[in-house]
Point group: C2
Chain length 134, copies 2
């Protein structure tokens, strides 16, 4: 665990908002001014290989990183671009909802929901109501 890796890890833990590699890079720079983007990529890869972080694929956009090690899904707000963690319900498994063929072995799953986050949904509803009044 080098200075750079520690710094990258601290940044991930510090503001758990699923930053991209570039966002991590700019945040880490405040502490380790000389770090390069390539090193940030290396550190992020090392951390994910060690199981200290996860990568979050956001469609075709840049990959995001997440220090939440629990099994969870991600929600992407189409309005504000925010990403949040969605936990599994107690004792529930994806197998309860999807119909898998026999003998299929599931190693892991990646689940992404898209839509409006609570804040943006309420804002949109308020806006619609205001428009209706006119």
């Amino acid at each position: 665990m080098t200075d750079q890796r520690r710094a990258v890890y601290d940044v991930l833990m510090g503001k758990r908002d699923h930053p991209t590699a570039v966002e991590v890079f700019t945040r880490v720079r405040e502490r380790v001014a000389s770090i390069s983007l390539a090193t940030v990529y290396n550190c992020l890869e090392t951390l994910t290989d060690c199981g200290l972080a996860k990568t979050v694929a956001d469609e075709r956009g840049p990959a995001r990183y997440c220090p939440n090690l629990d099994v969870h899904a991600h929600f992407f707000c189409e309005d504000c671009g925010g990403v949040s963690d969605i936990p599994l319900r107690n004792r529930k498994r994806p197998e309860d909802v999807w119909e898998f063929p026999q003998n299929l072995v599931i190693a892991h799953h990646e689940v992404a929901f898209r839509g409006k986050c609570p804040k943006c949904a309420t804002d949109a509803a308020a806006k619609a109501k205001a428009a209706k009044r006119n």
Copy 2:
């Protein structure tokens, strides 16, 4: 609906194996020899915009395309690289399994499972058994 779009659509429907844009390109070329990769991208985008196809994001690899319009998840075999469709169980919804915050509005979801497909799982099991015998 132009010749190119029809050809791209026919290729997608013809072999429902979730090809990448480049794979679609090479297949379409057999029919419309002069088509360019850019046009294939354009056609695929047009088809998805019209709701005739869906894009399937495979982590950081090239996007794949799928003409199955039903709500479904995807399974990626880590051994053979194959992609297959996983249907939702009757009357089940992701909300049954994941715990969403109040007021969150879900527009759609993308679900990917990874592991061994039935064929690769059986092959691997047979191989392990053979190794054990020695």
